[in-house]
């Protein structure tokens, strides 16, 4: 098949898709850990920590990823640390998604039935064991769809990192269009690739859900 005659360059497009996939995959993985950590920290009653975290999360949730990427990319060097564009992109996406993940976990913890915790306490379980054996497995299963939804939102926001010079899928498509003077074919091809990526994430969620259900019975 002759892709170039349709105004497509499959090599660069697939490379762009790989960049998008790689950056978002790393940020999603980091965002899970940081998000859960922030949510656990917010449960502690350590003086000013909880209100400070609440303010931080409120601000980050209101900040567009594009603005956050610019802020990370330009403020970090001004503070005296060198940062490469991909590192800044991953840092910005991790900060963004972990704030939303934190709120998702917090909602899950808030709905957790109190009597189960009391029962575990009565059975002599310590705080860490309670969290690991009782709370996290149940709340985790409950918030999984919300976490996956947040992952797809991050993928849809990821073109924002083009603003700090990352050539990811959307930017690649625009560049190809600028070279061939036919902007539509590469953009539509990019759209198909995004749909494919998001569909893969949702399919993984369905698989995980079935896997957990099978273990329950």
């Amino acid at each position: 098949m002759n892709f170039t005659q349709w105004g497509l360059e499959p090599g660069p497009l697939l490379l762009g898709a790989l960049v998008t996939l790689g950056l978002t995959a790393i940020s999603i993985a980091l965002g899970q850990v940081v998000g859960l950590g922030l949510a656990l920290l917010r449960r502690q009653q350590w003086g000013l920590l909880s209100p400070l975290l609440a303010a931080y999360i409120s601000v980050i949730r209101a900040t567009p990823l594009l603005t956050l990427a610019l802020a990370v990319f330009f403020i970090t060097p001004a503070l005296g640390y060198d940062i490469s564009a991909p590192a800044a992109a991953i840092l910005a996406m991790t900060i963004n998604t972990s704030a939303f993940n934190c709120e998702i976990w917090r909602g899950g913890f808030a709905q957790f039935p109190r009597d189960q915790l009391d029962a575990a306490k009565a059975g002599g379980m310590g705080a860490t064991l309670r969290l690991r054996r009782i709370v996290l497995p149940q709340v985790g299963r409950q918030v999984l769809p919300l976490l996956v939804n947040e992952m797809t939102i991050l993928i849809k926001n990821s073109p924002a990192v083009a603003v700090i010079g990352i050539v990811e899928l959307t930017r690649t498509a625009v560049r190809i269009g600028a070279n061939t003077y036919r902007p539509l074919p590469p953009l539509i091809a990019a759209l198909v690739l995004y749909i494919l990526i998001i569909w893969l994430v949702v399919a993984a969620q369905r698989y995980l859900e079935r896997h957990y259900k099978a273990r329950l019975t």
Binding site: A62, F74, A78, P159, V174, Y194, I195
Partner: protein, 219 residues
């Protein structure tokens, strides 16, 4: 160093405020029109026009998988190929309207399906039909029950206006970015932008909770 940055930023606060004003105008126009569009789409989705409804469902599913920036590019670069020329701001607004109209329709449809069937049956028994039934009985309840989700969507509209900086719309992020590169004040410029976004979102959240309290008083 930070004090110096703040002094420079204060001198050029007018530029930032212009950007913030454009962001507010874009958000209000796009938000209001996408609420209207979403409402209209929902009426079609729930009507007996099966074929039209399934076409719309396809459109909504497509929007839900599309990154907003890609849609903005499709509108900005794509429509001129069909002979439709628009300015940056017009194409940005059209992209916001199409994208968030689809999300609003999705929210309202889910809310409609979750509402108790009895309300509608009581309305039917009293002789309400079609548009009148939707306007008088279904939509008012739907607005209040979907208010939190719609408020979140409006916050999404505000945040998505930042993407328009890439198609050269001089909104808040773009204003902050040109300030930071012209005067080398990354800290003050970008933190001011973040502060303005936060302010806009807080106003939306307060507005939604005020509306909800008002609605609850009438129930």
């Amino acid at each position: 160093m930070i004090v110096h940055e703040l002094v420079v930023a204060w001198k050029h606060i007018g530029d930032l405020l212009d950007g913030a004003a454009l962001t507010v105008v874009l958000s209000v126009v796009a938000g209001a029109s996408s609420l209207l569009l979403g409402c209209g789409l929902t009426l079609v989705l729930m009507s007996r026009q099966r074929r039209l409804a399934s076409v719309l469902r396809g459109f909504i599913e497509l929007m839900r998988c599309t990154p907003f920036l890609l849609l903005a590019y499709l509108v900005y670069y794509g429509l001129p190929s069909f002979g439709l020329r628009m300015s940056n701001i017009q194409s940005g607004l059209l992209a916001l309207l199409l994208y968030h109209g689809a999300y609003v329709a999705q929210i309202l449809r889910a809310g409609w399906l979750a509402r108790p069937r009895e309300e509608i049956e009581a309305g039917l028994a009293f002789g309400f039909r079609g548009v009148l039934l939707a306007r008088r009985l279904i939509l008012p309840n739907l607005w209040t029950s979907c208010a939190p989700a719609l408020g979140n969507q409006m916050i999404q509209v505000v945040k998505d206006t930042s993407f328009l900086t890439i198609i050269a719309v001089p909104e808040l992020t773009s204003a902050a970015n040109s300030l930071q590169s012209n005067y080398y004040i990354p800290f003050a410029a970008l933190f001011s932008a973040v502060f303005f976004y936060w302010l806009i979102c807080v106003v939306i959240e307060l507005g939604v909770s005020m509306l909800r309290r008002k609605a609850e008083r009438f129930q």
